[in-house]
């Protein structure tokens, strides 16, 4: 079936460096792509979303890029901080359905 997947299960970066988390998706009908952050022992938290008719969207220290040609989504975190250590999920939403399909998650570890 349709799925959302991530290239790397773990990512370690030095504090202050930029982080890039990648995601591959397969459902061409998805109209929203979303990134969530889940800190240890907590529920996922919305970070940023991008509509399928866009290729880039920026938030505070985060940028999401969407490449529909290769069905690829990425989350860039600028000047990564210790508080950014978490599991990051990409998710997609198709049509009028309110349900999200989540990818398998990437564990981001920020090294001092």
């Amino acid at each position: 079936g349709e799925s959302v997947g991530l290239h790397l299960p773990t990512l370690s970066v030095q504090e202050g460096d930029n982080s890039i988390i990648n995601c591959a998706y397969s459902n061409s009908a998805s109209d929203y792509f979303i990134w969530y952050k889940q800190e240890s022992g907590k529920g996922p938290q919305f970070i940023i979303d991008i509509r399928s008719n866009m290729d880039k969207r920026q938030g505070q220290r985060v940028t999401v890029l969407l490449n529909k040609t290769v069905k690829h989504l990425s989350l860039q975190i600028a000047a990564t901080q210790p508080g950014d250590s978490a599991v990051y999920f990409c998710a997609e939403k198709a049509g009028s359905a309110r349900q999200l399909t989540f990818g398998s998650g990437t564990q981001l570890t920020v090294l001092p």
């Binding site: 929203y32 529920g43 919305f46 979303d49 359905a97 309110r98 999200l100």
Partner: protein, 112 residues
């Protein structure tokens, strides 16, 4: 004030028992969800519900049933618990678009 709350946070029970997890949101949202997160952090939608319709993921056993006494509450009832039901269960809520979902802190269910 907590936006989405769940009780209990931890639930340990024997196989074959029936248990419920409660969820409340004070965000005024019209849609609520239940997700299951397994030991590999994979997050999967179980149900989405608003006052008009219940959407059930076809892979969810009918031992699981959502019950909504009112718009702010969506409880999860589980009959005849099995070992494979052990997981963390998250409640969430959202507005109509369903893109930005607000998650509760999770309930860790352990079936012995």
């Amino acid at each position: 004030d907590t936006a989405v709350s769940q009780t209990p946070k931890y639930l340990v029970t024997q196989m074959g028992n029936d248990k419920s997890i409660k969820c409340e949101q004070n965000l005024g949202h019209d849609t609520m969800y239940w997700y299951k997160q397994d030991s590999k952090k994979f997050l999967k939608i179980m149900f989405s519900y608003n006052n008009k319709e219940l959407i059930i993921n076809e892979t969810v056993p009918n031992r699981f049933s959502p019950k909504s006494p009112d718009k702010a509450h969506l409880n999860l009832h589980i009959n005849s618990l099995e070992l494979g039901d052990s997981a963390v269960y998250f409640c969430a809520s959202s507005g109509r678009a369903g893109v930005e979902q607000f998650f509760g802190p999770g309930t860790r269910l352990t079936v012995l």
